[in-house]
Amino acid sequence: MSVASPLLAVEGLTKSYGGIHAVRGVSFSLRAGEILALIGPNGAGKSTCFDMLNGQNKPDTGHVRLLGEEITGRKPREIWRMGVGRTFQITATFATMTVRENVQVALISHGKQLFNLFGSAPKFDRAEAGRLLELVGMGGYADRPCGELAYGDLKRLELAVALANQPKLLLMDEPTAGMAPRERVDLMRLTAQIAREKSIGVLFTEHDMDVVFEHADRIIVLNRGTLIAEGTPAEVRGNPQVQAVYLGEGLVYDARHREGASV
């Protein structure tokens, strides 16, 4: 992918609610195969920003383009058809269906067979569904009812579902929220590996800084609706403005004096 036409290009995204500017003029871009973390303290505008990318919220002004094509203001299902998969902060799966059936529904949708009234759904792309489940390490759970899964497994199932339409871009809203530390590392490692193998761009929001700094290629930092920093994990870590936002200036000052080292 050339630098001229990034996978995802966000330009001047702005959204306000009443007098509150939730997001102000946010611009960034994402290359194929790149893992980009969107971070910021609570109320920074991450979720608003995220929802405007996946079609759940419409920006007041600004553009979102996928491979040069405008997706601003489109419906979630249309954005999905253009090759954007997503996972939710609180998992959304089909609880009364089995794990395999969850993936098969996504495959049926991808194959545009949603209005096929007399085909056999249990046989539909069964092998492909199995492959996707193997990919995320859920092969042994294919016939389990989805409602019985542990939370970490649901997250992995969501990843398999999100991969069903061979997406170019994955949007993951707090992918590791509510997981045990070990599960977090596993899930992000898996995501990173898949993204690099298939050259999928990944944008995720996250509160856990260990996850962010270990797995992101690049990080963008929001505070009060504006983008305050952008760069590699090392660059962002050393950015005094980011430190101020996350730790408070007084604390940074104290820490430096006491230990004489960078925070």
Partner: protein, 629 residues
């Protein structure tokens, strides 16, 4: 001009009762999240008790005292109902709550006839408001003026109650987040009971205040509940101001609609409701609710197609059923045909409510439309039977396409209320448009042709169609479309995120279910030789719901079993007792409270337990998960 003003004032007066009942329904829903179907029944009991009391107690004080006493007495009944019935089902799926309160309605309908008799009762006129006021040559009953003033007064009192009292603060808090209120140490049980009592009091007051205007009769509950549902859908469930504005709007539409479409004034109300639903699906004053919608069932048993053994067993059952004419008489065969037709009806609703999660409370509309379709084609166009059978259901299909389009914009209780209102509208049209439908007299003389005339031949026809329909719908459950439909039921959010246009999937399912019900209705017209408005009435809609529920709402084949058992029981019951509604209502409440899984659901559970009991395997080893048949 004066005439229009009077018409306007009459509308305002009608709005008063409607507002009282609707606000009661809204308050109860706000806190308990139960749509109290029995609200119309409480309204009716209020009217009956007030009638009795006003006959006994004389004078102005006696009259007004009777009205208030009646409302208080009914509120007391409400408290009893809340404590005995509702407390058991607060955590049940909303479908069960609607059905339980509907069962109560059925029981009340028979009880009032038992106590007060079947005739209309004309009550006393209100002391002090007996005359009429002259308005430019037009008369306005002074009681109407009293009602017009009463509406805003009640609205004001309710506002004060909710804004200025401790109880009101608790109710508003519980409306927003009842779990949080419970966590703060509020005794929820009594809060719920008191809210229910207030809501029922308002309904009964509305009924009691109607007696100087209207005769008291035993069908007034259904008429008011449909209007109330329309009011809360327009005004927004949970909003009292919305209830007031919508009650005025609906009453005025009725008052003026009668001038524009004298026969079918209800169409005007329907049009307004449709527009409101498109512009603001949550009503004029309601708030869009981010309702965490649960699946209609109680457990998570994945569905699977029949195994080849089960297929053989089903086929064997069908063959046995087909041999019935060899040893059964004509009466049994007619009953058999009727049961087969109700299997069609039940599986069509099952497809919509179990597979699609859309519990229609007005499914009989499409069954009846299919029957009327046949009647029109056979009687007016004189087409041969086979053509009528093929084309008749198209009327059900068209009805489902129009109403379904609006209905699928909503979900849960709103969907239930709206489908019920639609069915009632279709019923009113069939009932009132006498020149086309024959009104209450129906359309007679729709007899099958020779090839299907004998009871055994008709039985085979009905059985064959029922088998085909059941197989086709079952195949659809396991088709890609069926999976997509179940997906929209389980999670709208996820469905949209994987490219599924949920509304279109649901609309398609609605049309499929409506057309199938129409097929049942078409056969039913030939079985009975006639078509009546009752063929699309509420009680038939509820029959369908009970059949699915009895069989097991979360199973694939429950509808078939439920239809056979329920219909056979029903036919037997009607031949045994005059109080079939009382028995049926009690039966419905019993299923909901003690038997919510239904026949097939319980059989599955038993089979599962037996299989689980045999291997002593550790629970840690991933156990094979039982599948629902």
């Amino acid at each position: 001009m004066a005439f229009y003003v009077v018409q306007f004032l009459t509308g305002l007066a009608s709005a008063a009762s409607l507002f009282l009942v609707a606000s009661g329904l809204s308050i109860i829903f706000g806190v308990t999240r139960i749509v109290n179907f029995a609200h119309g029944a409480f309204y009716m009991i209020g009217a009956y008790i007030a009638f009795t009391l006003t006959e006994r107690l004389s004078g102005a004080f006696g009259f007004w005292g009777s009205i208030v006493l009646a409302a208080l007495a009914v509120a007391l009944i409400g408290v009893l109902v809340e404590m005995v019935l509702l407390r058991r089902i607060y955590h049940a799926p909303e479908l069960f709550q609607l059905l339980a309160t509907f069962g109560l309605t059925l029981m009340v309908e028979d009880l009032v006839v038992l106590i007060w008799g079947p005739d209309d009762l004309v009550g006393r006129r209100a002391p002090g408001f007996k005359g009429a006021v002259d308005f430019f040559g037009q008369n306005i009953p002074s009681y109407d003026l009293f009602l017009i003033a009463l509406g805003p007064v009640v609205l004001g009192i309710l506002w004060l109650l909710f804004q200025r009292t401790r109880w009101g603060v608790l109710v508003r808090a519980a409306t927003q987040d009842r779990d949080m209120v419970a966590a703060l140490g509020v005794n929820q049980k009594w809060l719920f009971t008191s809210v229910f009592a207030v809501g029922v009091f308002l309904a009964a007051l509305g009924g009691a205040l109607q007696i100087p205007r209207d005769a008291v009769h035993h069908a007034m509950d259904l008429r008011i509940i449909v209007e109330v549902f329309v009011v809360v859908v327009i005004g927004g469930l949970g909003s009292i101001v919305g209830a007031f504005v919508a009650a005025v709007l609906v009453s005025e539409l009725n008052a003026f609609g009668i001038l524009i479409f004298p026969k079918i004034s209800i169409i005007l109300v329907f049009l307004v409701m449709a527009v409101v639903l498109i512009v603001r699906p949550w009503g004029l004053f309601g708030k869009p609710e981010a309702a965490a919608r649960k699946t209609p069932g109680l457990t998570v048993n994945p569905w699977r197609p029949l195994t080849s053994n089960e297929r053989l067993a089903s086929l064997a059952a069908l063959v046995v059923a087909a041999m019935l004419p060899l040893f059964a008489g004509n009466y049994a065969l007619t009953v058999g045909s009727e049961i087969a037709i109700f299997v069609i009806f039940a599986v069509s609703l099952h497809f919509l409510m179990s597979v699609g999660g859309l519990a229609s409370f007005g499914h009989a509309a499409y069954f009846g439309l299919g029957a009327y379709g046949v009647a029109f084609l056979a009687k007016m166009a004189g087409l041969p039977m086979i053509v009528c059978l093929l084309l008749g259901p198209l009327l059900g299909c068209m009805g489902a396409a129009v109403f379904g389009f609006f209905a699928v914009q909503l979900s849960g209780v709103y969907f239930a209320m709206l489908t019920l209102a639609f069915a009632q509208i279709v019923w009113s049209i069939a009932f009132q448009w006498v020149s086309v439908t024959g009104g209450d007299n129906g359309i007679l003389g729709i007899w099958p042709e020779k090839w299907a005339a004998s009871p055994s031949h008709f039985y085979w026809l009905a059985l064959g169609v029922a088998a085909l329909v059941t197989i086709a719908l079952r195949a659809m459950v396991f088709s890609p479309f069926g999976y997509a439909l179940r997906a929209t039921r389980d999670s709208l959010l996820r469905s949209e995120a994987i490219g599924i246009n949920a509304k279109r999937i649901q609309w398609t399912a609605f049309v499929i279910a409506g057309t199938t019900a129409g097929i049942g209705g078409a056969l039913f017209a030939y079985l009975k030789g006639s078509v009546f408005p009752d063929n699309l009435g509420i009680s038939l809609s509820v029959d369908a719901l009970v059949m699915v529920l009895l069989g097991g709402v979360e199973t694939v084949s429950g509808a078939v079993v439920g239809a056979i058992v329920y219909k056979a029981l029903n036919i037997w019951l009607v031949s045994q007792t005059d109080l079939s509604k009382l028995v049926l209502g009690g039966f419905i409440m019993l299923i909901v409270v003690v038997f919510p899984k239904g026949i097939v659901g319980v059989l599955e559970m038993l089979a599962q337990r037996r299989r689980k009991a045999s291997p002593p395997g550790s629970p840690l080893i991933a156990k094979p998960i039982e599948s629902a048949e």
